[in-house]
């Protein structure tokens, strides 16, 4: 038991030193002593490499964005509007009616992207209990007062912990589009590709808007074609409007 405690304390100290080394927080003397230690200890070398690799991997947003682009280019994995069974269509309609029931009058505090006018004006009204409550509340407050960068930041934080929360994902994508962060919106929406979801039409529509923001017109056309028969009237109409405004 005591041995285990000593091992844990040693590990803790080792990892703290690795962090300080990587952060450049060691004195020259400490640094050269630590480098000598690393050179002599294969396990420590592995740990150091792994620590560096974790920073690179988790900090690289481009990798996920490229994966999403590649998936879209694959014919079988391109986002499609599913044919809804009647009960799913009914549930979607009810969800839409509940959403449009609220009147939204945001006090916009940020400059909106040109494509933002196509976004739904539905307010964010989500509830979650537990640890994540404060983050979602902060996101909601920001979103409903038009502070989209803050909303996006909090929603991304929320999604990092609750990636399956589809409604939060939809609002995060809307916030990203509103601030002109189209690539971020695409990353957020990639989650819906190939999934069976009630939000698939909305997700496809937001993907089309993000791509429109990036002027990737060919891909926009493809997604809008898929939305021609969308079951949600608002999406169908807005998609038709956007299709008419695509430059030749």
């Amino acid at each position: 038991m005591q041995l285990k405690a000593i091992e844990m304390a040693n590990d803790k100290e080792k990892y703290e030193r690795l962090e300080r080394y990587l952060a450049g927080a060691m004195t020259a003397e400490e640094r050269s002593a630590f480098e000598a230690e690393i050179a002599a200890d294969k396990e420590l070398q592995t740990d150091l490499e792994l620590h560096q690799e974790i920073e690179t991997t988790l900090g690289d947003r481009g990798e996920a964005a490229l994966e999403a682009t590649l998936r879209k280019m694959r014919p079988t994995a391109s986002p499609k509007v599913r044919r809804f069974t009647p009960w799913i269509a009914a549930a979607a309609t009810i969800a839409l009616l509940i959403t449009v029931y609220f009147v939204w009058t945001p006090g916009t505090t940020t400059e909106l992207s040109p494509i933002a006018s196509y976004l739904s004006e539905a307010p964010m009204d989500l509830t979650v209990l537990g640890d994540q409550e404060a983050t979602l509340d902060a996101a909601q407050q920001a979103y409903n007062t038009g502070d989209y960068p803050a909303a996006l930041e909090n929603l991304q934080l929320f999604l990092a912990i609750s990636p399956e929360h589809e409604s939060a994902r939809i609002f995060a994508a809307r916030a990203a589009i509103a601030t002109g962060e189209y690539a971020t919106a695409l990353e957020i929406l990639d989650f819906f590709n190939g999934r069976s979801s009630l939000n698939i039409e909305e997700a496809t529509w937001l993907q089309a808007l993000s791509l429109a923001g990036m002027e990737r017109w060919e891909e926009v056309r493809e997604l809008l074609r898929a939305l021609q028969n969308a079951t949600t009237p608002e999406i169908r109409e807005k998609a038709a409007t956007l299709a008419r405004s695509i430059p030749e």
Binding site: K12, I54, T56, L58, T69, K72, M73, L157, R216
Partner: protein, 190 residues
């Protein structure tokens, strides 16, 4: 002697910048040949798509390393990775003894195996990040993905000060390191 970059470097840059127009060009020009190689060797069109996408991701990861210079044609590099990935896949599917009807000779100074390992290691890290506890994922998300300062993280997470945030990050990272090292696949990637 400095290595001269090949004109196809623009294709690698397209992967790094996620330029979908050029990536479509890559698909158009190279996918049919990669698909033919896969189909010749017991694969389907679906396998070919998986392999092609994965090969491009390997190239992306390799190209992100600081010393990377493309000195051969893009196709030669892609083919080298793609054929090795497919051979690996066949070995997994059918066991160790697999006859592969392709020339795996690739006369270049790229270490293709290490490029593939790098991609696999990164996938393993992402996978293990997903199984960390909520609190740790949040801390690593804030510090690494969102690049927040330790002071900001302390405020968001309700820590007493930035020193606590630093220590917590170190703890979470060490848990992630331990999870990765514990996985049997890690030994194959070293």
């Amino acid at each position: 002697m400095t290595k001269e970059p090949h004109p196809d470097t623009r294709l690698v840059e397209a992967l790094l910048t996620n330029n979908s127009l050029v990536i479509k060009e890559i698909y158009r020009d190279f996918f049919p040949r990669i698909k033919a190689m896969i189909v010749r060797n017991n694969g389907s069109e679906d396998d070919a798509y998986d392999n092609f996408q994965e090969s491009l991701m390997v190239i992306y990861n390799k190209a992100k390393t600081s010393d990377f210079v493309l000195t051969s044609s893009f196709y030669a590099f892609l083919y080298g990775i793609s054929s090795r990935l497919w051979l690996k896949h066949l070995r997994k599917r059918y066991g160790k003894e697999v006859t592969f009807n392709e020339d795996l000779e690739f006369k270049d100074d790229f270490d293709l195996e290490s490029a593939i390992f790098l991609r696999e290691k990164r996938q393993l890290i992402r996978e293990k990040f997903g199984v960390l506890r909520e609190r740790c994922r949040k801390i690593l998300h804030l510090t690494i993905m969102e690049r927040k300062s330790h002071q900001e993280v302390a405020e968001i997470m309700g820590f007493a000060n930035s020193d606590v945030s630093k220590k917590e990050k170190s703890k979470c990272k060490s848990r992630l390191v331990a999870l990765v090292k514990k996985d049997p696949r890690f030994d194959e990637l070293r």
